[in-house]
Symmetry: C2
């Protein structure tokens, strides 16, 4: 194979109770990337559209990943990468993770697929580290594995693929405001009451049980976050109104995607998702803040091959 | 029905990472109880064998439960209860929960089964409150539902039945020492680092995922507790040696049952369980402390009817 074109999905991490552990992939939002073998060795980024990102491969998430993979698996050819960002960085939908995960997948294909999904996740985490400052795994693993994922452990890295109930749908709103990663981190409590932690992990258990048993009521009841959402929602204008509108319109639950500002809602079925979409849109139209909306199935495939030769 | 004889299983609560949320029932250890209709109204305890417990129905876990049920569901007959404790109170194996859950089940049968398992759990929690000081649900729900249970929420009470992989076996050791509930509570941290909480809930997610997917490796990796075990194990003589011996003999994991002093180990299959039993036994024989050992399947039925007429 000399050439591959892929779609790398956007992802929702920190799914309510599952802060720093649970993520899932979105079906119709993401990056389109191409990877081509070249005679000249090394990695080059030849095109970036849809967002302003560095062409310097040591600073670009995709470039960092590709370099690390070629270092680990030396070959006698080079690779050029083109990136079309399908959505904005800084949205809370794992933008750097899509590029990093996409690069891991695309480069692996040109190398003849020597690496497992777990290894690809580890490479992609280097891209996260280079662009976000820490090697978080929830977005990149969701992009690579697809569906719902649980980052059970970092040492050693252990990614658990979780089932996706077939009627589960996503609605999300990306208000066009900036939430600085530093601010989102600074508001996090260093210590939390044991009692709150118990409540939270019981809900993590409930959510995962609900995913396995197609129990939408259990999923709905478990989609709560009493630890991170209460402190981070202050950084997102009108979070409470959006969540309230989503729930009243029938959403199973709603929360902050990643560290925001995107707010996600999970719904059962397309009809409910449509209503939730409408309710959130109407709520935000009154605020005067620009926004972008998403309605999607859950991506269960992970990164998809669009073309190859 | 005028008479029913039942078996109410012992239970393991606080299953490693699942402090205050996860429990399971044991197949071959528990209380045998009888319930009989009488002309004379009210509740009387006519026999208690196997342990020293109060006959006063307002102080006995089973009595408290029966009284509350008859108050909620008045009838024109009375009930006598006999209790044969199959294991010692204060073991950390849900002794009061077995009596309380058994009473809820037995009385419900004599009443014509008006109450759901969830309602029975709520009644049984009153027995826990009367004898242990707090209305905890993990042991009583495990006894009533059988198998693994997740106490997802207390307000409202939500019990989630989890699947039990068929090869899962229990080995437990009950050292004949007293762990005072107050001491076990006093050592608990009020606050914990958010980072530790994330690690813990990721393991709760992994454990539950492992139960659903029959993934013994995942169960094993998830059976860790970085929050409660490190502080409570100091109250249990030779905890570390027992855990080490169990893991080295092939156990999937080991931890404190309830608030101790019983130490449980989960194993895959009878052969491994035998080895683990032997290893733990040999370890404890050297300590000079008396102990009692258990090897059992996981009880998947909950409370069992032995006789009725």
């Amino acid at each position: 194979m000399n050439y591959i074109k892929i779609f790398a999905p956007a992802t929702v991490a920190n799914v309510s109770c599952g802060f720093d552990s649970l993520g899932f992939a979105i079906d119709n939002v993401g990056d389109t990337m191409t990877f081509e073998k070249t005679k000249e060795k090394g990695v080059r980024i030849t095109a970036i559209t849809g967002a302003e990102l560095p062409f310097d491969v040591t600073k670009n998430a995709a470039g960092v990943v590709a370099l690390a993979m070629l270092k680990k698996h030396p070959v006698d050819f080079g690779i050029t990468i083109s990136i079309h960002k399908g959505y904005a960085p800084g949205s809370g939908l794992g933008s750097s993770a899509a590029s990093a995960g996409g690069a891991a997948f695309g480069v692996n294909a040109l190398l003849g697929n020597p690496f497992s999904n777990l290894a690809l996740t580890q490479f992609a985490m280097l891209g996260e580290e280079a662009t976000c400052g820490s090697p978080i795994a929830d977005n990149v693993s969701a992009a690579i594995y697809g569906g719902f994922v649980l980052v059970r452990s970092y040492t050693p890295l252990d990614i658990v693929s979780l089932p996706v109930p077939s009627e589960l749908r996503l609605v999300a709103i990306h208000p066009q405001v900036e939430v600085k990663t530093k601010d989102a981190r600074d508001v996090l409590p260093k210590e939390i009451p044991l009692k709150s932690a118990v409540t939270q992990w019981a809900n993590v258990g409930g959510l995962i049980s609900g995913l396995y048993s197609d129990n939408y009521e259990l999923i709905s009841n478990s989609l709560t976050d009493i630890i991170v959402e209460p402190v981070r929602k202050k950084l997102i204008p009108h979070f409470d109104s959006v969540k309230k509108a989503a729930i009243e319109a029938g959403a199973l639950g709603a929360g902050i995607s990643g560290s925001g500002p995107t707010i996600f809602a999970l719904c059962r079925g397309n009809e409910v998702a449509k209503e939730v979409y409408k309710a959130i849109k109407e709520t935000y139209q009154e605020t005067g803040i620009d926004f972008h909306m998403i309605q999607s199935e859950i991506n269960t495939q992970g990164i998809q091959i669009l073309e190859q030769n």
